[in-house]
């Protein structure tokens, strides 16, 4: 469970989110939507422990996030940044093995059990087939699955994903989100992800929060949050909802 109590987030002088109250239940796939600059990434960074709140507190289960070391956090929680690049040409397996870092002391080798966990993460994301290929030789869709395998190798309880579908084509977008949903169930993960595409959000998340101008302006069931008038309030865009729950943008409001 993730709980935010009266959290205020910002960088230096710039306030991004104020007085945030949010509770995300275990096993939930929770979406963050909102216009550019509304604070989705900032919120994810705060939950990952990389940005300390200016006020309020964030709890993972019953423990205060600010009291955990970054290694302790990394055993509970994995986060994938929106754009991950690898500066040297590591093999896929070498990269996924990095997921075991928070579980090993500096001088410890990877144990057979670690190798098993790595292989399992590769299998779950269907990347075992190119485990020995270099990361540079993969397509962006394949690479996205490798990053997911890296996160799974951390054996986290919580998975934070910053726009996992960015830069992916339609097929890969669906593929990766279906995989994430599937893993949330089979691996008993709490997933928090930010998404730009509201239609994908409608289909794939259990609950979501709509952020705008420093606030959560609506939170709950996607069906009830993503209705034309809240969307217009957040994005200043008129939309129409079709049968089967598809949103069609109609024009700038």
């Amino acid at each position: 469970m993730i709980r935010l109590e009266h959290v205020r987030l910002g960088y230096d002088g710039r306030l991004v989110l104020r007085d945030l109250e949010l509770e995300i239940a275990s096993g939930e796939v929770f979406g963050l939507v909102g216009p550019n600059g509304s604070g989705k990434t900032t919120l994810l960074r705060a939950i990952s422990g990389r940005l300390s709140p200016q006020a309020g507190a964030i709890y993972l289960d019953c423990r205060r996030l600010s009291e955990l070391s970054s290694q302790e956090i990394a055993r509970e929680l994995a986060m994938l940044e929106q754009e991950i690049s690898c500066s040297f040409d590591f093999t896929v397996r070498e990269i996924v093995e990095l997921g075991r870092l928070p579980h090993r002391a500096r001088w410890q080798r990877l144990s057979p059990q670690d190798h098993e966990i790595v292989t399992r993460a590769l299998r779950l994301t269907d990347t075992l087939q190119f485990a020995d290929r270099s990361i540079g030789s993969l397509s962006s869709g394949e690479r996205q699955r490798v990053w997911l395998a890296l996160a799974l190798a951390q054996e986290p309880k919580i998975l934070l994903l910053d726009e996992p579908t960015a830069h992916l084509d339609l097929r890969y977008q669906l593929e990766i989100l279906e995989l994430i949903r599937h893993l949330a169930v089979t691996e008993d993960l709490t997933v928090v992800l930010s998404l730009h595409d509201l239609n994908l959000a409608l289909r794939f998340v259990d609950r979501l929060a709509l952020l705008s101008e420093g606030h959560v302006i609506a939170c709950g069931d996607p069906e009830t949050v993503l209705v034309p008038h809240t969307i217009e309030r957040a994005y200043r865009v008129r939309v129409r909802r079709l049968e089967g729950d598809w949103l069609i943008p109609e024009g700038v409001a």
């Binding site: 302790e72 956090i73 991950i84 690898c86 500066s87 040297f88 040409d89 093999t91 870092l101 500096r106």
Partner: protein, 329 residues
């Protein structure tokens, strides 16, 4: 399987180093062999040849290792140990000692001045690049390194000009060009000790360097404190490079080329790459020094000229390759 590849690469490099050392000892103005009975030759061997060859290997090892760490730390395959102005700082430090004739009190003031100059340069660069967030900006770090290198070069030029005496000027030039002519056992022990301690520390951080390849944020999500890591590694590299420069002047390109070639052979995993770069640097500099001592024998070519002649075209080749689409270094 992968582990065997690493072991194989490291043992081949060790064998190569043994060969290079043997060659380095045998070659020179006077041919000697370890079994020589002639007392003069034994003296040459023990007090001149041996410390010199070992120093070449150790300095090369230090530069290769530091280069590999810098490239990993800055996520840039074109980084090298002198990136942050350490070499020009060290040269200015040595030039200052020479110009003020401080070495008449104690010869060790010259390497000490070089060491302090190098450390001073890195400290300034580090302070400048530190932003309000207590985060370090890579570009600011590299650019301030360039600016500071220019500043320290100006100081060195001024000291050369001011010193006037041809004798002093030649000694300053030695630092700029680099050379192992001043080798003695004390230097060998100093570099050996630093290399062992710093090298062991750096290898312990190899996995964290691997994680850093995914960027500072991702490394942080894997439980690493990138700020601490960077401080520790920069300190270690500065110390080791400053010691190397203090005994041999500026020897360019070793720290650039060696990790580069070895990354192509052993892969980017720093657990193998770091020791491999140390061994590879040792091989390269031992051979370059052997060339430096023999091509114009009995006169001697500054070793920095040889490494630059080899390294600069290689660097340009790398840049050219990088400019082509589809090739990642």
């Amino acid at each position: 399987m992968k582990r065997w590849k690493g072991v194989l690469a490291l043992s081949s490099l060790s064998a190569l180093l043994m060969g290079a050392l043997a060659l380095g000892i045998a070659l020179g103005a006077v041919p000697v062999s370890p079994l020589d009975k002639d007392p003069t030759n034994r003296l040459i061997l023990l007090h001149i040849r041996l410390p010199r060859v070992l120093l070449a290997a150790l300095v090369g090892g230090a530069l290769g290792l530091c280069g590999a760490v810098m490239q990993g730390l800055f996520r840039n395959p074109l980084a090298d140990p002198y990136l942050l102005g350490i070499a020009s700082g060290a040269t200015a430090g040595a030039a200052l000692v020479i110009a003020l004739h401080l070495e008449v009190y104690y010869w060790g003031f010259v390497p000490l001045g070089a060491f302090l100059g190098g450390v001073l340069a890195v400290t300034i660069v580090y302070r400048v690049a530190q932003t309000r967030w207590a985060r370090l900006d890579n570009y600011a770090l590299i650019l301030s390194g360039v600016a500071l290198a220019a500043l320290f070069s100006a100081v060195t030029s001024f000291l050369l000009f001011y010193a006037g005496a041809a004798h002093d000027a030649r000694r300053v030039i030695f630092w700029i060009l680099g050379g192992l002519g001043g080798a003695q056992w004390l230097y060998v022990l100093g570099v050996l000790g630093t290399l062992l301690i710093v090298g062991a520390t750096l290898v312990l951080f190899a996995r964290e360097l691997n994680a850093l390849a995914l960027g500072e944020e991702m490394a942080a999500h894997l439980g690493i404190e990138p700020r601490h890591l960077r401080k520790i590694l920069l300190f270690a590299v500065t110390l080791l490079t400053a010691v190397a420069v203090a005994v041999s002047g500026t020897i360019g390109f070793v720290g650039l080329i060696v990790p580069h070639i070895l990354r192509l052979i052993v892969g980017p995993d720093h657990r193998v790459l770091l020791p491999a770069s140390a061994l590879g640097g040792a091989v390269l500099l031992t051979l370059c020094d052997a060339v430096a001592r023999t091509v114009l024998a009995p006169a001697e070519l500054p070793i920095g000229i040889i490494t630059a002649l080899l390294g600069a075209p290689f660097f340009l080749f790398l840049l050219r390759r990088r400019a082509q689409p589809g090739v990642t270094l």
